[in-house]
Symmetry: C2
Subunit: 234 residues, 2 copies
DNA sequence: ATTGAGTTAAAGTCTACACAAATTGGAAAT
DNA sequence: ATTTCCAATTTGTGTAGACTTTAACTCAAT
């Protein structure tokens, strides 16, 4: 491997700047030297410094303003990134064998709460799908999903007995907007039954609404098995 | 071709590419034209195309590999970004008036579960702080935090009656690593009391562990009030 | 004091080019 | 049929320089 001496890449600069921030050399609110000066210090072009600082700002460490310069941001403005994995990937990442099972699938007029939530006409047709995701024989996630028939007419001919509704949707309809919500909910009778836990138990829950342009496509509520934790490091 | 010749910024390219993905013109798994060809199409340099595609890849829309090219990612591999706000900011963003209250503050040897979790010596000294965050007079969050004295000796003289431990830590110690976990837990007697909800109720909970280099600094468990939802759109 | 206009420093972006690094796909060797 | 190796392609990153946009600052006029 070729160790290029003295080449300062934007990654080196990022590392160095981060180190100075973390060591306290550049405290929060400190104004950094301008790009040109840093370019001289690191003996590279301003372009390279620019990229390094731009990315650090993007990652929430710095704040940059034209003419005002670049300053160190107080820590807690940071952002966290979570990967939203497919259930299958998540199960397999944990060393399990993924298994899917359809629970029920039927046409229904959209219930009132759903119509309100997705801004549907009252009584618009919807496909209601409930299914389970297992890791081996252990329940992993119970999914309760509504698909708006007007937005996805093909769903009338869909069969979710082998292919999960999420996979089917991904293959079938593109989407433009997603709203993802996490909350702690209480296991109702059916979720408790499928996830094999006592009714009323706290359940980590994700709600996902997907739109295609302005048209709501699907609303999904996913109940995770007991003990589920969503973790990220940064 | 209604290609506008006035502006060919990387933002225009991002917009156009996104539109093509969303319109279905470039379905998931589609291989995009290479940078050089796109540069010709947009009549700009490859550098500009590179920046546009790089950012889109960063945002989770594309996957790029040398020699293999750039392809559209199937949707669910996407990442979601959550801003981790300060409680104060969150309360104020919801239109409330933030209020802080210290519940208790005392030195204790770290309990076993904490020593295990943070890889401490058994019986290492710790500062245990419990406090409340209110929106007006409505409970918003109950915080239960441990601070490792060895890592933050100044904590011996800290007074958390006016300034919250998180704000104090941010001002006092830098940190290098954070692990953030979300889960649904069951309100124990004290959390239930402070948050004004029945014992055993599901509570959306965040755990945050912070390190300085290899040294664990603090472990915080934050219990949110009933009905709390963490939402993101993308 | 307050307002307003001009100056100017700093970041933002683009061009044009060069070389580096990865990795695919195929040819050659086994 | 399989493995090894090479070349071609594509993205990754850097240099050098120019022009643009924003907004902090200054100073004069109200």
């Amino acid at each position: 491997m070729t160790q290029n001496t003295e080449t300062t890449s934007y990654k080196d600069i990022k590392r160095t700047v981060l180190r100075r921030i973390r060591s306290g050399e550049w405290q929060p609110d400190t104004l950094l030297p301008n790009e040109q000066d840093l370019a001289v210090e690191f003996s590279c072009t301003r372009t390279t410094v620019n990229r390094a600082l731009r990315e650090l700002a993007d990652e929430g460490f710095l704040e940059r303003r034209r003419k005002a310069g670049t300053r160190v941001l107080s820590a807690p403005h940071r952002q966290a990134r979570f990967t939203i994995p497919l259930v299958r990937d998540e199960v397999e990442a944990l060393g399990g064998t993924y298994r899917y099972a359809l629970v029920s699938q039927q046409f229904l007029p959209a219930p009132e709460w759903l119509s309100a939530r997705l801004a549907l006409q009252t009584g618009q047709a919807a496909m209601h799908v409930r299914c389970m995701h297992y890791s081996g024989n252990t329940p992993f996630q119970f999914e309760d999903r509504w698909i708006v028939v007007d937005s996805v007419p093909q769903v009338k001919d869909a069969d979710f007995s082998a292919l999960g509704p999420n996979d089917w949707l991904v293959q079938t309809v593109p989407f433009t907007n997603v709203e993802l919500t996490f909350l702690a909910s209480r296991a109702d009778a059916s979720a408790a039954g499928f996830l094999d836990l006592p009714e009323g138990e706290p359940v980590f829950t994700a709600e996902r609404i997907t739109w295609l342009q302005d048209k709501p496509v699907t609303f999904a509520k996913m109940y995770f098995a007991a003990g589920y934790r969503m973790t990220t490091q940064f």
